[in-house]
């Protein structure tokens, strides 16, 4: 079970949270102007790396707010969690 630091509530156990997929995917401003290929990429294509992954979480059974996290998908270690209005933290060296 992961221990996750909500930027507002502090460290809480994983079952309080819902994972919400890859972070920093912006919805195109004008969907109707998108080609089918670009729209499919926005909807479905994901990085799915083995390594550092920027992702969204929601503190569903807590404050209810979304935040971002930088987690390693090989070890599940969190390098940082950050609010949507905060700058993206750097990827750690190790």
């Amino acid at each position: 079970m992961l221990l996750i630091r909500c930027p507002w509530c502090g460290e809480r156990p994983e079952p309080e949270f819902r994972h919400a997929g890859e972070a920093h995917i912006a919805r195109p401003a004008d969907p109707a102007a998108q080609s089918d290929t670009d729209w499919a990429a926005y909807l479905y294509l994901r990085g799915n790396p083995r390594g550092w992954h920027r992702e969204r979480w929601r503190h569903a059974h807590g404050c209810g707010r979304f935040f971002n996290a930088l987690r390693h998908t090989g070890t599940d270690r969190f390098a940082a969690t950050y609010r949507p209005d905060e700058p993206r933290p750097d990827i750690p060296d190790t």
């Binding site: 819902r18 479905y44 994901r46 799915n48 987690r71």
Partner: protein, 420 residues
């Protein structure tokens, strides 16, 4: 030359103290410098693909299977071995039922006992919504020519006596039963395919990790692979790498509609035969059968976040066990022996991706998510035809990568039976 199994060879070896058995497949230390087709991934699907290529499409030439670890050591050795074909849509029914029909003759086909046991797969309905959903599946399956029947609670109890149908927390309102469904021995599937493929000339190279995909600077077509055991030239590559597919396709510059999640399972201590079938409970998320060794094999869910850790969180296991203990009160005092995780590649519509890619010469068979084992023979069969001809096999055609652009998704979220 591979020994043909039979009474004579068994008797001969028994008299010699079983010292004469040779390895059942060739495992060259290193790959040749060039092949005509390379399959990346030595799980059941990859080995089935290589076997079918060598058997039915021998004109393709030299074939190799490259496996990062050992064959059958990934999801082939980590799943709960359930086989069924009661999916909702005609495209899926065609694909999975193709596999079930091949399962029925597989031991004879491979001359290797894969211990296919069509003991029946029963899916429990706990709510009005479940009843409506499953009855819809039963009717859809009947139209597709796939067996699936509706059972009353009493009939469900008769089919699986350990089941508590009056369970206060998860009452059983009925069940959908596919009698042709069942289980098979997962290791034997990998070994049987490896043996049969090797006998047809396929090179199976283990502990050989692919580290790069080389492409022609002009047309972009694949020209070969970089591996931890050297460079391999080849004009056709089939990627069958389950949870690691995104990583391999990224080597060719492709992003995939996949996310990899840990899926967990566990087994109990071995006991005398108590459980005659496979029972799945989609709503409360537990599925259970008994292996020939006597262990209860229990499937749990996926973790909520993408990961390659092959571990998973403990609350996922306890959730499945709580449901099992409610539905089968006689198992409450059993001890669990071990649990494990496998990395499954899930697609947005819970259906696999089989076919060509935008990169010439690169083929992919992935996205089987939480339910790929059941499809092993069918998956290999249609993927081999796709690689050999360069065009999708008719059964595989609806599962092309392009469906995410055209919008023709095949949404099997309900039939996939694992809560995502």
């Amino acid at each position: 030359m591979t020994t043909r199994f039979g009474l004579l060879s068994l008797a001969r070896e028994a008299l010699r103290g079983h010292r004469g058995w040779a390895p059942q497949w060739r495992s060259p230390e290193r790959p040749l410098p060039a092949y005509d087709v390379v399959i990346v991934g030595g799980g059941g699907h990859g080995l089935a693909t290589a076997y079918t290529l060598a058997k039915e499409h021998a004109h393709v030439g030299r074939i190799a299977v490259l496996e990062r670890g050992w064959i059958g050591g990934g999801n082939t050795g980590r799943n709960t071995t359930i086989i069924r074909s009661n999916y909702l849509f005609p495209e899926s029914a065609a694909l999975y039922d193709h596999a079930v029909r091949l399962w029925e003759g597989l031991s004879r086909e491979l001359d290797y006992n894969v211990m296919f046991s069509p003991r029946g797969v029963m899916m429990l309905a706990h709510s009005v919504h479940d009843v409506q959903s499953f009855r819809r599946h039963v009717h859809a399956n009947r139209l597709d020519g796939v067996d699936n029947e509706w059972l009353t609670p009493a009939q469900a109890k008769a089919f699986c006596p350990p089941l508590d149908i009056a369970c206060a927390r998860y009452p059983v309102l009925g069940a959908a039963l596919q009698r042709r469904g069942g289980v098979a021995r997962h290791d034997a599937v990998a070994w049987g395919y490896a043996r049969a493929a090797s006998a047809l000339g396929v090179d199976i190279i283990q502990e050989c990790e692919v580290t790069g995909i080389a492409r022609d600077p002009q047309g972009g077509a694949v020209t070969g692979l970089e591996t931890t055991k050297g460079t391999v030239r080849c004009p056709r590559i089939g990627v069958v790498a389950a949870g690691s597919t995104s990583l391999l396709m990224a080597m060719a510059g492709l992003r995939m509609p996949l996310e990899s999640f840990p899926l967990q399972a566990l087994v109990s201590e071995p006991v005398k035969p108590v459980f005659p079938c496979v029972v799945m409970s989609n709503t409360v998320h537990a599925y259970i059968s008994q292996s020939d060794k006597g262990e209860l094999v229990i499937g749990a869910g996926t973790d909520g976040y993408n990961s390659y850790s092959q571990a998973g969180s403990v609350q996922v296991l306890s959730h499945a066990l709580e449901a099992v203990c409610e539905l089968f009160p006689s198992f409450r005092r059993m001890r669990m022996l071990r649990s494990w995780g496998g990395i499954v590649d899930t697609t947005p519509d819970r259906s696999p991706i089989i076919g060509t890619t935008p990169v010439p010469g690169l083929f992919v068979n992935c996205g089987w998510g939480t339910g790929g084992f059941k499809a092993t023979p069918g998956s290999g069969h249609v993927f081999a035809a796709t690689i050999a001809t360069g065009a999708p096999h008719p059964i595989a055609a609806p599962f092309a990568l392009e469906r995410f652009t055209t919008g023709r998704l095949i949404d099997e979220a309900a039939a996939a039976a694992v809560a995502h």
